[in-house]
Amino acid sequence: MQYETVIGLEVHVQLHTRSKMFCGCPADYQAAEPNTRTCPVCLGLPGALPVINRRAVEYTVLTGLALNCRIPEFTKFDRKNYPYPDLMKGYQISQYDLPLALDGFLEIDGDTQLGLGRRRIGVERVHLEEDVAKLQHFPGEGYSLVDVNRSGVPLMEVVSKPDMRSAEEARQYLTLLHSIVQYLGVSTGNMQDGNFRCDANVSIRPVGSQILGTRTEVKNMNSFRAVYQALEYEVVRQREVIEDGGAVVQETRGWIEEREVTVSQRSKEYAHDYRYFPEPDLPPLRIGPERVAELAAELPEFAPQRSARFQADLALSGYDADLLAGSRSMANYFETTLTLAATAKEVANWMLGDLARLLNQDHREIDASPVTPQRLADLLALVADGTLSTSLAKTVLEEMYATGGEPADIVREQGLGQISDTGAIEAAVAEAIAANPKAVADYISGKDTAARFLMGQVMRLTKGQAQPELALRLVQEGLELQKTRGSLEP
């Protein structure tokens, strides 16, 4: 029996706003001491009232537009009621039946191993809600701690349709969604930090069946790799259950990273009745077509389009183009450098090579690079006009990175300009020839490679500053002269 996998993903994206969703507390809680980003509103104190964060609404609409969604004119918030110590008010302000965005899609390449090509994965909805507090448990100690800093941080939920057919397709969808929210700047999208969380709904059914099988919800996947592995595992697990004659139980299962298995967490049979009703403390919102058009105009060109343009217009390889277009700041840096008169291939090589290496060592993002696009362009100009050899330029780049200095200044201060004065090099050539009679003899007896050796010596003698091509030519001329002289010897 052949089975088809059906996967839907629910992704919670923490929005990168300055303040929380319903109060003025700073939203940057990650590094703060526990319970220092609180106020009566996010603490759920008696008498407190929520007020809507406009920017969070705009970020959600932008994301909806980027996902090709419809933005309804009328939207509202609702209360989702359930008791838990991490939920300050005993209800979460979320959106139920009139979310900010509906009926969108993302295009993925598809799982070619299954014979599936490029197609659309439906996005059911995008809505806005508030995050809950963080609990810390101490098994056996008899208490738990509550850190309210995260309570009220804006959370955007993207719910896909169950259109994915394998873990690979889920990975593609997730990667693309991640790229989009980063590109928009609405979230830093860091799974490890908890601002990009993924839950999956997984079921299987006989190929050709139109009826959905019983699904399980898989949670606690903290990296893209974990999502992939967990989904692969769960599909196999469900198939084995069925082939053993059993039935898949509708439940929530947690991914256990260390054991690489999913484990049942609680039965979903008694689904909690959240008693949703419209939030009476917040007026409904009207987002008119004019405002939607204004926001749509703010949408940037996303990674896939930008990469395609780099390949088409700038003749970059697919690999390089994808890397450069991978983040909005990388792509912007790249394009800025190009406007300062440099060639695409050159810039790509330097950015993806030496500059990337330096940034990675420091775990720095390109926005924080001491080597600005202007300085990189200047450096490349010095290579192009012959002032610096490529290898010397690498040294200068390191210095630029370390000090934030201008390439021209560094070259001047360290006397690194390539020597292209023939006379200066000839002296070194003469010295090299005089000091290496064996190499000279090798050359005369036919070993052309000896010339390269002597060129290396010349480079050493000139502290690497001799223009390499010129040095080689002069070495060859000098050796030819030796040859002639030698043949003239009696």
């Binding site: 009566p40 603490l43 759920g44 104190l45 008696p46 008498g47 407190a48 009232l49 929520p50 007020v51 809507i52 209360r79 009621n81 008791p83 838990y84 110590p85 300050m88 008010k89 005993g90 209800y91 008899g142 509550v146 009745d273 008693r275 949703y276 009703f277 009476p280 403390d281 917040l282 007026p283």
Partner: protein, 483 residues
């Protein structure tokens, strides 16, 4: 007092006595500094603008020195705010409600927190966990509720004004039963930030006072936009000081006769008729209006209010503040803590309403109860909007009966609820409403006369109220035991 002879004590007396404004004093000294410091150089910085602004602030304190009592469902920083409940025994909020800040900025003096039905749920103040309040006109009777303490305090001369809250009649009904003025503003006129929520779409804060002019003065301070309350109107309130003396010549008053047909005490009906006659004598035009859906107001209210309350009271769980049940043994978990805390902390009426509300919102019943009630609510509002095409205010008695005895209806919640028949419509529709003293029964118990107005038109209600109050034979009546 000649400027050259001004002393600290002299200035203090002159400003307090109203002979001089703080601005005048300030301006005088600033001018003197300007004229003399060129020669002296005694100042390194002169705060001309800031000083004048501060002087203006001092002058603009319309409630300077006025003591005000505050219902115990409104947050007062550092001062116990119990909502009349054991679940918040000793709870001291870390912040002031917006209305409290405004009162303090206006120079008022908060003299205390007043008793109320637990979480404002009730019409008699018998549901307070701290014992009932008594009616100053007859100590064996209820003062009304839920703002019973606030009404009794003003009636007995314990404070010239108090602020209460009104979700289904809780300012107006106790005002009527205690013979004082009680005003529920339009929903959104006064900020709810810092009000312990009962029903979010119905709650409003308002004044209880002896006179209509006093109610206007206090409302003026309470009202206005608040960025912390998304349901508060962003329009600034009108100037309410120029309404008096109230003139009702040509003012049209509508009466929903059908609604008055059943269940109203004959003495209440008589007082109601007498008040209308007085207004008519002063030039008002009285006519009938039809409010066909008002008969559904009480059932609609008792679905919508408990539903919202069941959600608003979910936060009282013993985790962060208030009462937390003591658990025996390590086996007890969070669920048991929640159940015990709330069982111990909440009284019977609150539990009743939480259960009613949870039921009305639950899966399978939500559409039939909550949604349906909200739809009928719109119909009730439509009735009033239509009526206001023909009249400027709708008049009704505030309550069907005068104050009943303490304990008389405590075992019959439904009988208690039905007493709200004339007040809940104003909350469901968001319209402003005022209860005015309209005389006493034979047994010397107060009766209230109620007016409901157009949205944000408190001014018309105050104007009519002032006209009724002037020369009314009962306006000087006071509770005999507390005169």
């Amino acid at each position: 007092m000649a400027p050259g002879a001004w002393t600290v004590t002299g200035i203090r007396a002159a400003v307090a006595g109203g002979d001089l404004s703080a601005r005048e004093v300030c301006a005088h000294y600033l001018d003197r500094i300007a004229a003399t410091d060129g020669r002296l150089h005694a100042f390194t910085t002169v705060l001309r603008e800031a000083a004048l602004a501060r002087a203006d602030e001092v002058d603009a304190r319309p409630l300077l020195g006025v003591p005000i009592a505050v219902k115990d469902v409104i947050c007062t920083r550092g001062v116990p705010t119990t909502a009349g409940s054991r679940i918040l025994a000793g709870y001291r909020p870390p912040y002031d409600a917006t209305v409290v800040s405004r009162l303090l900025d206006a120079g008022a003096v908060i003299v205390g927190k007043t008793n109320c039905d637990e979480f404002a749920m009730g019409s008699s103040t018998e549901h307070s966990a701290y014992g009932p309040t008594r009616n100053p006109w007859a100590l064996d009777r209820i003062p009304g509720g839920s703002s019973g303490g606030a009404a009794a305090a003003v009636a007995a001369g314990q404070a010239p004004a108090s602020i209460g809250t009104d979700t289904g009649g809780s300012i107006r009904q106790p005002a009527a039963l205690c013979g004082v003025v009680g005003l529920k503003p339009t929903y959104g006129r006064v900020s709810r930030y810092g009000l312990l929520a009962f029903a979010s779409s119905l709650d409003q804060i308002g004044p209880l006072t002896w006179t209509v002019a006093d109610a206007a003065a206090v409302l003026q301070v309470l009202a206005g936009p608040d960025p912390r309350d998304a349901t508060a109107s962003t329009e600034p309130p009108p100037d309410l000081s120029r309404l008096f003396p109230g003139n009702v010549r040509g003012t049209r008053i509508g009466v929903p006769r059908v609604a008055l047909a059943d269940g109203v005490d004959p003495e209440v009906l008589d007082a109601f008729g007498a008040a209308l006659a007085m207004l008519s004598d002063r030039g008002a035009e009285v006519c009938d209006v039809d409010l066909p859906h008002m008969q559904y107001a009480v059932p609609v209210y008792y679905l919508v209010a408990p539903a919202e309350a069941s959600s608003n009271l979910a936060r009282y769980d013993g985790v962060r503040y208030g009462h937390r049940a003591k658990l025996d043994g390590a086996a007890a978990g969070v669920s048991e803590m929640y159940a015990r805390t709330r069982s111990e902390g909440f009284g019977a009426e609150v539990k009743r309403r939480i259960m009613l509300g949870t039921y009305a919102l639950s899966a399978g019943y939500y559409d039939a109860y909550y949604v349906h009630a909200q739809r009928v609510r719109s119909l009730i509002r439509n009735d009033f909007d239509r009526a206001f095409a023909a009249v400027d205010a709708v008049a009704m008695p505030t309550t069907p009966t005068p104050a009943f005895r303490i304990g008389e209806r405590i075992d019959d919640p439904l009988a208690m609820y039905l007493g709200d028949v004339f007040t809940v419509s104003a909350n469901l529709t968001g319209l402003p409403a005022i209860s005015l003293p309209a005389g006493l029964t034979q047994a010397r118990l107060p009766i209230g006369f109620q007016l409901v107005g157009r949205p944000f038109d408190e001014a018309t209600l105050l104007r009519i109220g002032d006209a009724l109050e002037r020369d009314a034979p009962w306006s000087d009546e006071r509770p005999p035991a507390f005169a």
